[in-house]
Symmetry: D2
Subunit: 364 residues, 4 copies
């Protein structure tokens, strides 16, 4: 399988390029009888779309989703749901001068090395615009999970040296996140993040950061013990997103300097009869790769946008030194639009493991 599908039972297959006719996603395995319409997909597509605020790219795409199948009389039928999002504002001429140059930090060179050719119009298949398919599928996954009491909220935790103060990740609401264009629930930090992003843009530069994604309401027991640990599949999901160079759960890299006696989260009686919980959540909501009932908390490190309007040294396809300045419209910081993409992948992964769990353990 050439890598354009994700999930075993809640299975997402995508196709499309940034400057072709559009993007398609097929979502297979959705249980029947769930109400679904295009209006369910649009909010997250709007959170992901370019041109949504002054700190994102100004490419203008309405990103309207058309459901082509799998829904009848407003309900899912159990058959595959295909969604089409056509491209509109393609401006492929913007890219003609990079046809024979490799943009630093992009996949131009590696695609060429792999396939012997590449669609040079804005990255083709490697464009982050590909995530439009994931976000559409993620919206379906979120609906399915909501019935199970699971909700997923992501936010920007860090931009450059500006770090948000988020005392309780599991208490952050979508409204708090959407209250500012940088999607940071700490208003003071948000202001400084926006200033920083505007500053780097004015300097023809870009800036990295981190995002934190939290899933609450996941019951204990989801995930498979060995290769398909929930943390493994979530990790794959996150690293499958463009620009992610690091992923961590709970205490994350902080465990390197911790002792066992301080790192173990002690089990204590829960609030429900017979229920069990932990008072701290350094484990990030999974033990042995299986959900513990605590919130799942993960963080992603996202690199600064590789495309820069300033000249950067590179080489041509035939190996000659040159320079390149990418004149396309790009985000000076990827994080604000990264949030819905990451939420979508968390949702797809959890929806898949929900179905996988009940396939084997539905009697329980």
């Amino acid at each position: 399988m050439a890598g354009n599908s994700f999930g075993q039972l809640f299975r997402v297959t995508t196709a499309g390029e940034s400057h072709g006719p559009g993007y398609v996603v097929v979502i297979d395995g959705v249980p029947p009888g769930m109400s679904l319409g295009e209006a369910d997909l649009q909010p997250d597509l709007d959170r992901r779309r370019p041109g949504q605020s002054k700190i994102t790219t100004q490419r203008d795409e309405a990103d309207r989703a058309e459901i082509l199948s799998g829904v009848f009389e407003g309900k899912t039928t159990g058959t595959p749901i295909a969604v089409l999002v056509r491209n509109k504002d393609q401006r492929s001429k913007d890219y003609s001068d990079i046809k024979d140059k490799y943009r630093p930090g992009h996949a131009d060179y590696t695609f060429d090395a792999k396939y012997g050719l590449r669609d040079y119009r804005g990255g083709g298949r490697s464009s982050a615009r590909e995530t439009v398919s994931r976000v559409a599928a993620g919206a379906v996954a979120k609906k399915l999970l909501a019935v199970q009491g699971v909700s997923i909220v992501g936010y920007v935790k860090q931009v450059g040296a500006v770090i948000a103060d988020v005392p309780d990740p599991a208490a952050v609401t979508l409204d708090q996140v959407e209250a500012n264009p940088v999607r940071c629930p700490d208003p003071a930090a948000a202001t400084r993040m926006i200033e920083l992003i505007e500053q780097v843009r004015s300097q023809q530069d870009s800036i990295g950061g981190t995002a934190e994604i939290v899933a609450t309401g996941v019951p204990a027991g989801w995930g498979e013990p060995v290769f398909d640990k929930l943390k493994a599949d979530l990790g794959k999901a996150m690293f499958s997103l463009p620009a992610v160079l690091g992923v961590e759960y709970g205490a994350g890299f902080g465990v390197a300097t911790a002792r066992g006696s301080e790192n173990n989260d002690a089990f204590v009686p829960g609030t429900t009869p017979g229920g069990i919980t932990t008072t701290t959540n350094r484990h990030g909501g999974m033990l042995g790769g299986i959900s513990s009932g605590l919130p799942i908390v993960l963080r992603c490190a996202v690199k600064p946008t590789s495309s820069l309007p300033q000249d950067q040294p590179t080489v041509t396809r035939d190996g000659q030194p040159t320079t390149i300045a990418t004149k396309g419209r790009h985000d000076p910081c990827l994080l604000p639009r990264f949030v819905p993409m990451a939420e979508a992948m968390v949702a797809i992964t959890l929806a898949d493991h929900y179905l996988r769990h009940r396939a084997q353990n539905a009697d329980r």
Copy 2:
């Protein structure tokens, strides 16, 4: 698929528990005609096995591998290779007093929540002893990759606050790593790491750390562009290992504070005609999820051993508060034995992507 298989074309399936008869691994998809014998598997099994040094657990397992199939007259036949490693020193009585308690930091509770029962003898399927199967499969993968010029070396980068100085990750040799029991190529740091591990053991405690794994010789072009990015599959592979709470590539979480102009690795002409490379490797050897020809460099954060000989608060299966001290034999620091496990998973993932790449692109 219930999560006990890994890989699409170089496909590994494992079974077994820490206190059952033994472990089985089936390795499917190995090309025919490669010389292979049990002697090829033993070195890495010896690096992984318990009781190998004073700073590891004293459980004594020879971990002898028996090849049951797929090899004829010293060569792989193209049919599946099954390997059996029987358990010897099981001492399951050590675990009888934890039958009705949940060990903090372990999968006892989550297995129970998932399946409604658990093999309480040393973790059963959740025991890290399960990695014996992976290391056997990894040895086969390493042999396959060696023919392609790919080699994989891992080492301990950090234990607690002790951080090794490794100027050039791609230059570290297996001999340097195996020169000391903590598997750290910086001899001075190794000495301090060993002292620290012995100290925490004397305090009935444990300590975390990080490991760095480097794959050299991977040609540009391996990996799939979207969901099965090489960084995504390697990330899944790493997070599928026990105790891993963080994974990062190249500059890793350091990208959060970086600007694009400093983070992009500039392409420059390579040493071979028409060859292309980058002078720095902040991208960690993959761009757009596809290998760039630079060394693949990744780091894993490994938590301190959860099993401690000191009393820790926990609850019983029916939710009553109690304490637990795990009297089994455990590593005070997981890192030294983690290195061959991580190398194995990197090797399996790369072997799979090598076959996947040539399936689609063998004409090139």
Copy 3:
């Protein structure tokens, strides 16, 4: 995986219903650099489309394919190829009176039993119109195989009691097949088949038959030895087509009365140096599930169309006896349009095994 994908490396995923907006197929894993355009898909879509002759259904669908991705400047890029075929002549009102009745021989009842609801407009996902996706994908597979010297020709072997005389299945040409609307290379039999089909239609009835599909040029060595035998995957492919109740290879059910001494095809030297062949082909081109280099010959038994304009006894959704006459436009005999569907599935299966074979055995 909910069953809407086929193949491991040449991987086809479909979505769509007979009376929804249209059909989508995503073809993943196609090697890069192959010339491809919509004109390559149309001939087989035209052979499959309704309304093509007087002996098929009169539903009028142009079945124009739009390639949405995976092709750039006339060549495949190695990324997934999505194809969209919109529905035009849907006339869903034709089906309103069957909303609460189960058509005999159709999937109405079983879909309802499975999902608790169904798209009652012409069968929804269970409509044979779904094969439009397969035929589009099959056309891509045929192009890929043609480069390897493989060609696939199918034809109608039998309609009712009329059996074609085809002395050498491997010698039948597409031109011979397309010379008459019933797609039978024996002109005399074709005439009688057409008469029979017109007769059963005038009697408001339908008639079954068999089709024979032949793949020539497949080299020895394709197929996997155990579960994914080439005959197993081809068998699945054929049985995945609507209305197929039997599949056989070579001597087929005739082996039941054969003795080993007469059934074994003797190996003899081939025409090329060192080449090996068999003089007879009772084995149908595969031995041990792996292609032998002889033509692959298979036959499918296709039932008579279940939809009939005459009254048939059935029950309503709530189990009350009633009668039903399906007034939609239907083929009185499925065989002529079955041929391109079956060819497509053979092509997809062979393309997949071609890539699978070279993934493991590209060194050979």
Copy 4:
């Protein structure tokens, strides 16, 4: 995936060769809490084993199964079940004279063409002895299905021209089948079949036949609509067995001469309130690829044993004409031992679709 695994959720992976140390099967996805022990596997292994009666091969294998994992205190744990069956009576010297010759009807030549080498000891991986793994897995599947009220019974329907009279396939019992060594529930036909088999053996020849497998108690709703139709996956399962050249359901190839008005099984009210059934079962228990609640009835055509003690013409590895007489111990008719193999594959396929159905539709 190189073809040694079967099933999506009830997933079986096998390894082993006829003259190596033994066979391994890993069964992943079995629900937890089901009682299971080696005694559950032995009856079907005994029905499959060589040397069981005078009309089978005299190779003597006890075929004792050892469960290596996945069962604790007599119950499945939800983790993978590995089963080991060691080879005993290997006599590989029997095969030394065929090292450089291709046995007609066997996979010797095609393995060589595929892999460039072969394990020439009795067919290696291509030996029908490989089905010992399937039968062990099938026994687990049967136990799982029995809880759902599903039972599977197979029998020999035809040997040469001797055809059993089986008025009601769904009424055949295991006791009737096991009442004679040829496994035919029609005692009179059984006697003639045995005579025929002894006759062909005395003539140093072999004979083909058909087997019929019936699954009763499958509720309406199992199976996926498009590629993974139940008839498609069962068809693949059957064709994955050695020597099968034809598969048919219900009316099978008889549909070719049928008219729709006679072929459609009319729906009628069932015996339970709201229940629906059909009075006839020409459809073989599946409609649109989904089970209808009627018995699933399928037939396989099994070729005569290819290995014959008489001289047969063939060629050497380097293409020179020669003759071969296979002196190993072989069944003069494969059918009696084919029955448990086919039952096993039906059971594995149904167990998989049972889990797949409830994964998506457990709410129903």
